[in-house]
Symmetry: C2
Subunit: 300 residues, 2 copies
């Protein structure tokens, strides 16, 4: 299988701009958090991890999914902010000593290293209801809100379920079915939710929502398999987080269960399925196709 190159200068320019637009909106949003008062340290901990950067792939996905369905940036932004809050919550809690025990994330000390475990737990705990508050204050018609809340809630629950299976899986033998369960829940579910959120915010027709849901699910699986492969093959410096960690703690990873070659092949297969899901959108969806390509070509 060959992968068509869509990552041309136009795509890269768009993606950088889309990240930047989101980052600007996110920074403005975070700037409005209280900087003094009895909970100043909590808000600082929230801001620290939210401002730590990252690819912002999830919020860009929300905004682009909305656009291909005829929606605006303004309609998609609350859901995009909400998804990044949920993603950040998951990173803060996953890094805790009781969980994956990571000291480094995006090249910086993790939240609990800087703010202590109590505040790291609470920063994550604050971000989740905040995400739902953002959805409820959405400028889209009220009848779209239940769909938005359901999509984000189910994506978040699945992610937590995946993390629980991931933690339990560290103490058991490598199991192909378990790896698939973990990847589906831990990663693919939230990327799927991103696409559904964007489409729902835009008021898309059910078949558009379904097509984008499929795209997000396959994209998510491709992403997580690629992530496992990177953990095995890339350096800590390139990753901005501890490399080789998965094998060291006996994580259930795709390469551990299926081998490196089969993992790369499956990632490409999921990529193709993601591309196929977008057929009905025509060239409108080229940027999303580029995102799928970006996901399996990335080196960090």
């Amino acid at each position: 299988m060959t992968i068509e190159t869509r990552l041309d200068d136009d795509w890269l320019t768009w993606f950088q701009q889309a990240r930047q637009d989101f980052d600007q909106a996110f920074a403005g949003h975070l700037d409005r958090l209280p900087q003094t008062g009895p909970a100043a340290r909590l808000y600082e901990a929230v801001g620290y991890s939210c401002r730590a950067g990252g690819k912002r792939a999830r919020p860009v996905l929300v905004i682009e999914a909305a656009r291909v369905c005829g929606g605006t940036f303004e309609q998609a932004l609350p859901a995009a902010l909400a998804v990044e809050c949920i993603h950040t919550f998951s990173l803060i809690h996953d890094d805790l000593p009781a969980m994956d025990d990571d000291d480094l994330r995006r090249g910086k000390p993790t939240n609990h290293v800087v703010y202590g475990q109590a505040h790291a737990i609470l920063a994550g705990d604050w971000l989740v209801p905040h995400a739902f508050a953002l959805l409820a204050a959405n400028p889209v018609p009220a009848e779209r809100v239940p769909g938005l809340v359901t999509a984000l809630a189910e994506g978040t629950k699945d992610m937590v379920v995946g993390q629980a299976a991931d933690i339990t899986g560290e103490t058991t033998a490598t199991d192909k079915q378990l790896v698939a369960f973990i990847h589906r829940n831990k990663t693919a579910a939230l990327l799927e939710a991103c696409c559904v959120l964007g489409a729902t915010a835009a008021g898309a027709a059910p078949q558009q929502v379904d097509a984008l849901r499929k795209f997000g699910g396959h994209l998510g699986l491709a992403f997580q398999i690629a992530d496992d492969v990177l953990d095995m093959t890339a350096s800590t410096e390139a990753l901005g987080k501890t490399a080789g960690k998965d094998a060291a703690v006996n994580k259930q990873t795709w390469p551990a269960a299926f081998g490196l070659e089969a993992s790369n092949a499956r990632a490409r297969q999921e990529y193709q399925a993601a591309i196929d899901a977008l057929a009905s959108f025509g060239h409108q969806a080229d940027r999303l196709r580029g995102m799928a390509e970006f996901v399996i070509r990335r080196t960090n």
Copy 2:
């Protein structure tokens, strides 16, 4: 100030029945969680704390607030379940070693003692999006959902903010303003949210929602002050959780800041303000008045 006795047999019979009705619905809801599969341990941890009992004051408050506004049990139930999920999440996380480090809750070992810290964190993390999923699947008209989500999200955020201030406050001198901030956020906000949720689910008029919001806020403050007093004066056996803990870890409590006598007086004052807020509901609200009385008369 004297407190009228509404805690007659009729009230007690009603409250026991209301708790039982909620418990039955909650148990049925929890029974539908997966009992096998890779995340079985997570769902078991969730069920363990949800089934641990407690007074169920919050969900009963939701249901009764809905009823005084002309709403039905069915309309209020999703929000009642959601609030108890949020309350349970907060107990699980508050008990963690990095937070209040409690081994005992409602007379049973705390979640992390039984399931380990990782699963206790994740059980809490699962309950929050689950609560919002319940609200979004509400049988009430879609236009009420944004209000429900906002009320629960703001109540939950405030609670987390209060817990953060509570943790930080353990390392500073007793401060009256700080105690008031902590109690307002940590406890009163969610009880206020309960009342708003019930009223909103019932489609109540704005002045009814406001009256119940005030009732919930004063009730919450009365409750937390009484709780502080109990921690100081009752036994571990009577409480079902470690007594005298607050003073031992230098918690910012009402009695520590204001003294025991002033605390009892303030609790009664908040009780009266809660009663006053219900004036426009007439005898319809007698059960709610009884709840306020129950809160300041309780011994555990």
